[in-house]
Symmetry: C2
Subunit: 332 residues, 2 copies
DNA sequence: CTGAAAGCGCTTACAG
DNA sequence: CTGAAAGCGCTTACAG
């Protein structure tokens, strides 16, 4: 069959346990032995059996990545690849792998998660979404599986990483005020999504802090998260005669709205949105305003937190809620 | 520690091997025993250790999913979630899991794949892209790891599943001809991508079969795959005065082009595109023409083929190239 | 239809 | 700094 640790040991003239320690780069092994054994592993094209390692050491070196129920808007948003890049970056440093947990419905997802958690196939879970009263998250808590949520769940007894959505809603709105906007609308989406509600809250605070009146009629929430939805909203529902500023919570929606404004050659209405990764420079209009959410950092911080949570020293009554800084870009 | 097969066996008054056979639903065990043991597993909340199962049985029950180097256009296209849904559907039937192989560069990806393949963490690989001369694919072939590509690679010694891109390029073009279009352009993208070139080929064949002249000046290739690219193309480069038909290879690009046409209230130019999953009905304009690629079926077929390829009976000199049927929708 | 025993390929105290 | 031995939690011929 495949080459095992015994084969390597025999050829190197050492004990299997020594080879094992070389694999783990155990400091108690002399450099000389390490070099000898490593050479032989190369020569023989030896790779440790991951399942044997996992069984013997009780470490699977794998995290489960829990995706939301498949909706196009989720996958189409640059948030997803950006955060995935951050997760991967951090995990590959630690030589960990990612096991996907998709699932056609909540039941299927739950059974799968039960299996991989109880079956010790994963050491922890990363939730790529935060939703109200999530049964999967509750399950992770019950079985005390280390977990971290990307987003802000309605459950403080869990680790999570997010932007400070209230704050950036505030900053975005204030940036438009500073640019001279008088009548600023908020384009949200589903207020059940916490980040939509939180950014809305910041929007409202900023208005009030600047002595504007908050007008619920300027809050647009009844839309989905795709560019076409933004386009339609701008075309049919936004009162572009009186408005001169838009805080747009969703990046794709913003694309649609901007496409409409561009085509109307409307330069009066200033917009600001939140972008998973955008930077000034190539491909970004000079006067574009946006807030860079640094979503890749959210991904990598989530992984770091999960590693911390793995540490048995950690009291399970201590939870990390971390806010990743976002950068305001106000254009020229 | 955790509950093991021995604990269950003891409580049930049977041997561990019997419990193991119950887990596997081995037909040689009596229904009576199965019921008894299953009840006890439930009671004790027993879950088999996946790594122990994998080590003992030499089956990891996991496939690796190889993603392309992170580009937004890939993730933003509905193709990705659609094919993932199909893959998941089929794999969950077989109780298999998906291990993700991302990676910031080719080197990292290659090392990771070597590790999970040689380390027996995966039984096979699904490539979610087809690129020229792919070193990762070559590696899979060298180590004889069962693999299936979604797309059409430049390598026939591998299993793959795809749409018949030449054929659907032909059908799409012919559909526009039947609608009375006289001057039809092809909007492609990167001709290094095989599906772009193949659909182009079908476009050309259809023109010629219908006694039109093929004009290379009507082939637009210099664009990326996002809606904004389509919008810009329509606005700046397409000669909408003389054109009356557009075969658009990429669904997102088509969105951008259509947005522009709508806004210009241009009803002369008819378009047709290829969509990962779209059906007639809700949210689809009555007169929209498109070809439904059935990408979810591609995903599920890919998984089926991989299971076939696992079968040791299979000669490794036999490769399946399967084309999934796409449906032409020509609108009312 | 069921059980006892060997084995999958590692890791890890323990001893030296 | 290194080795011998036990053990991780399963599966699977083999025997009955």
């Amino acid at each position: 069959m495949a080459i095992t640790i015994r084969d390597v040991a025999k050829r190197a003239g050492v004990a299997p346990s020594t080879v094992s320690r070389v694999i783990a780069d155990n400091p108690s092994i002399s450099e000389q032995t390490k070099i000898k054994v490593r050479n032989i592993m190369k020569e023989m094209n030896y790779f440790p059996n991951i399942y044997a390692q996992g069984l013997a050491s009780a470490h699977s070196k794998t995290f489960g990545l829990v995706l939301p129920l498949a909706t196009d808007a989720f996958y189409q948003n640059p948030f997803f690849p950006t955060v995935l890049r951050g997760i991967n970056y951090e995990m590959s440093k630690h030589d960990y792998s990612i096991l996907l947990s998709v699932g056609l419905d909540n039941d299927q997802r739950q059974r799968h998660i039960e299996k991989i958690v109880n079956g010790k196939q994963v050491e922890g879970l990363i939730f790529l979404y935060a939703s109200k009263n999530d049964p999967l998250l509750r399950f992770a808590q019950e079985v005390q599986c280390p977990a971290v949520v990307i987003g802000s769940p309605d459950n403080s007894k869990v680790h999570y990483v997010d932007n400070d959505n209230d704050l950036i809603g505030y900053q975005a709105t204030e940036a438009l005020i500073k640019k001279g906007c008088e009548r600023i609308a908020y384009v949200g989406g589903d207020m059940n999504q916490f980040f939509i509600a939180d950014r809305h809250n910041g929007y409202r605070r900023a208005l009030e802090a600047n002595n504007r009146i908050y007008d619920p009629g300027l809050v647009y929430n009844d839309l989905a998260f795709l560019p076409t939805d933004g386009y339609e909203l701008a075309q049919k529902h936004l009162d572009l005669k009186t408005l001169d500023g838009l805080v747009i919570s969703d990046e794709l929606v913003a694309q649609g709205i901007k496409a409409y404004l561009d085509e109307q050659e409307n330069e009066k209405v200033k917009t600001i949105t939140f972008s998973a990764y955008k930077q000034d420079g190539i491909g970004v209009a000079e006067d574009a305003s946006f807030i860079n959410l640094n979503s890749h950092i959210i991904g990598s911080r989530a992984v770091d937190i999960l590693f911390e949570a793995l540490d048995p020293e950690q009291a399970s009554t201590r939870f990390i809620h971390e806010y990743v800084a976002a950068d305001l870009h106000t254009g020229k």
